[in-house]
Symmetry: C2
Subunit: 452 residues, 2 copies
């Protein structure tokens, strides 16, 4: 069945036909069932969830949004809750516990088996956004000195709930990570070979305190489906799996994306109107505030504008193009920093390239600007075209330089390059463009006594 069929088969069922619904819910993909339950009216969620058999309930639960998980914890029987929470992977469980009241956590922790309790405590001990918080403690660990045959039978005796059995991590007596071996290698090797002969000591690993974005970048770079996490003493404490990493890569991209537009990174399409206002309005009021500063700088030139009316027609072009040039360079820089394609070390290289490209762009834009000004200007105003062209060229170069250097500088200061949002750069460039242009025009009017 293609997914669309699966989703439709859930939606099409008459909710009254409980048997049919039960069968569909237990034979669909957990993620689809989770989505279906999450969109039901509040009262029906627990009913639908109770229709799931035990293993499906456990799988579906991990796909529910945190608030629905919390709601179910409060409305299901304690025994069922205990079973589900016990079966969750430790990283998902830690994420849920973050949201629950302390009283509920205490109760749930008591009902967990000692190992699961320990695993949860370990993960909750690391700060949010680090490898330690993201990892699971359910991985396969082998001791040095085993043969391939022994390793395979050890893997077969593991709990079935290891997050991945496709890599096994080899440690010494101090739990220090020494090498990694894939299940593929084990299967393709004779049983009496020692694993040390086939395992690789070129282990790519991260530390518990490694930021989650870096974990994602490293796994992407080395095409890994799981990566080991070690503590300061190089002891193996967990692994991070690829499914969590894909979500992080997408979240990071969304965040950069939306910050650049002056919307907040964590706003979603279905955020409530109030949240949306709260995330966006500060940027808008900030822009207005900036403009008050800019306008007071521009205000003294009001008489200049009324003396040379063509200026009012020309000036918006500076703000439209200058802002866009700046945002183009800004976006390419922020994105390539985000995907790890460049680092602040490349600043000079990127700047040189951007300036070269900017020079070409500046020539083209300045020429167009001059032609347009000549067309729009009254005969006695035609000298304005020369200044307009010059300012267009210089504004383009400034825009390219700012768009490249600002995010690079933030990154070098270990700040988020996406803090520089588009509207900020646009407003800066507007002001710079207007002031340069109007100053030069007044100088020309006053010093050279040019015709008005």
């Amino acid at each position: 069945m293609l997914i669309h069929d699966v989703r439709n088969s859930l939606v099409d069922v008459d909710v009254a036909d409980l048997n049919q619904l039960k069968s569909n819910l237990n034979h669909s993909q957990p993620v689809d069932v989770g989505e279906y339950i999450a969109q039901l009216p509040k009262k029906q969620r627990a009913i639908a969830f109770r229709l799931l058999n035990k293993s499906q309930a456990i799988d579906v639960f991990e796909y529910l949004p945190l608030d629905v998980q919390e709601e179910l914890i409060n409305s299901l029987h304690d025994v069922q809750v205990a079973q589900i929470v016990e079966a969750m992977s430790p990283d998902e469980r830690a994420e849920l516990f973050d949201e629950l009241p302390a009283k509920v956590i205490k109760r749930l922790l008591q009902e967990l088996s000692p190992e699961e309790r320990q695993a949860t405590a370990t993960i909750l001990g690391y700060p949010e956004g680090t490898a330690g918080r993201l990892m699971t403690t359910e991985y396969v660990r082998l001791r040095q000195g085993l043969t391939v045959g022994e390793a395979l039978s050890k893997i077969r005796r593991q709990d079935e709930d290891k997050e991945t059995i496709y890599y096994a991590y080899v440690t010494d007596d101090n739990r220090t990570l020494v090498s990694v071996v894939s299940l593929r290698q084990l299967l393709f090797t004779f049983p009496d070979v020692y694993i040390r002969e086939i395992s690789s000591d070129r282990v790519v690993k991260v530390r518990t305190e490694t930021p989650q974005e870096e974990v994602a970048q490293v796994m992407k770079r080395y095409d890994l489906i799981a990566i080991p996490v070690v503590d300061r003493e190089q002891r193996l404490v967990g692994i991070v799996t690829i499914d969590d990493v894909i979500d992080i890569l997408e979240e990071e991209a969304t965040e950069d994306f939306q910050k650049l537009a002056g919307a907040s990174g964590d706003e979603a399409a279905f955020s409530s109107p109030l949240v949306t206002i709260g995330k966006r309005l500060p940027w808008l009021l900030g822009i207005m505030l900036l403009y008050i500063g800019a306008s007071s700088a521009i205000a003294p030139f009001q008489s200049t504008i009324s003396m040379v009316p063509v200026l009012a027609v020309i000036m918006p072009l500076f703000s439209n193009t200058g802002g866009t040039v700046g945002i183009q360079a800004l976006t390419v820089t922020i994105r390539s920093l985000g995907v790890g394609e460049v680092t602040p070390k490349d600043t000079l290289k990127i700047l040189r390239k951007e300036l070269l490209a900017g020079l070409g762009t500046a020539l083209a834009l300045a020429t167009t600007m001059m032609l347009l000004s000549l067309i729009w200007a009254r005969p006695q105003e035609r000298w304005v075209a020369l200044i307009a062209g010059m300012v267009m060229a210089s504004n383009t170069i400034v825009a390219v330089a700012l768009g490249t250097l600002l995010p690079m500088a933030l990154k070098r200061l270990k700040l988020d390059p996406a803090l520089i949002s588009g509207p900020l750069v646009t407003t800066m460039l507007d002001t710079i463009g207007f002031l340069t242009f109007l100053s030069l025009i007044s100088v020309a009017l006053n010093v050279f006594h040019l015709p008005k």
Copy 2:
């Protein structure tokens, strides 16, 4: 070794010390070696590549940029080229062949084994950007009716170069895909159980013609590390693996990101200045062109502006805030369409939420606008504040509506929602804002004979 150490160990080596370099190159991660070789001066690349032993050479080759691959194909011995191209996975090989001259392809195809030649031809037969082009034909296929023990020994007899052995796909006599079984399930089941008893017929799959973005979204949704690809007759023809999909998700995000800023999606930080100009200048000239249209609509109002000088101070605020409001809504909509969080079906729901949020924003911005206008205006111009506030409110609502509806409409028309770039929306909103404002001001001046 942490990756930074690995990379440094490559860079720190004195290139003259060939033995040390050879050892480092053969003991580092293929992706690091690939990056190192790609940044060497052209003449040294082939030399460094020849230092690799056969298996490392094969691994490293797939990580080299296409132009370096092409260069090496021309400078290495035919035997070595044949070995490498034979060992490449069929999807990577197809990507390389796309870049090579027909003559070279013909020669290379002749040197391939019959199966690899067939696999390459199959993949090259599907259009770029589809699952068929992205898939590999190296997967594990099992016939129905095998036991777990037979399945496991069949898997162990496979070539070691299958892209993944962690899922096996079960087909009937017509090669129709019937179910999927994971290696994990096989290992945890007794050997005499029939695989049909443990394999899952809830197979999530895609068609050869499924667009690559959809493949990526489906794999992300179902947390798959590989997905089967079937043809129109539901016959299994290949699989797509997670590593390709991560690259696609990132590329798609970059594309949306950069298009929104009026830079082209496929521009990279290190694109040459000429490419950069080519990608960005058309947008800039387009904006200027749009402005010519806008300005000719605004030009008749020049006398109005010179009669009420405060207008020149107020008007830029419309363009700064209106554009930003539009881009905020646009970005959130494009991004949530991009990650599959919303579909055009949700248009009304999203629009209602955006309009509610827009209403709140409009009130706040209109109030600020009125206050600022009152401060800036000469006493006889104060009536302008009322119109400025009204237009700011209406412009905000229009901006929110356009930012939401334009990408949704494009998506519904099966076009890329990111075609609506930020500068386009900004310029539209500028023009709408200016025209509404100036028209109302002239009406007020003429009809009510308000003071100037």
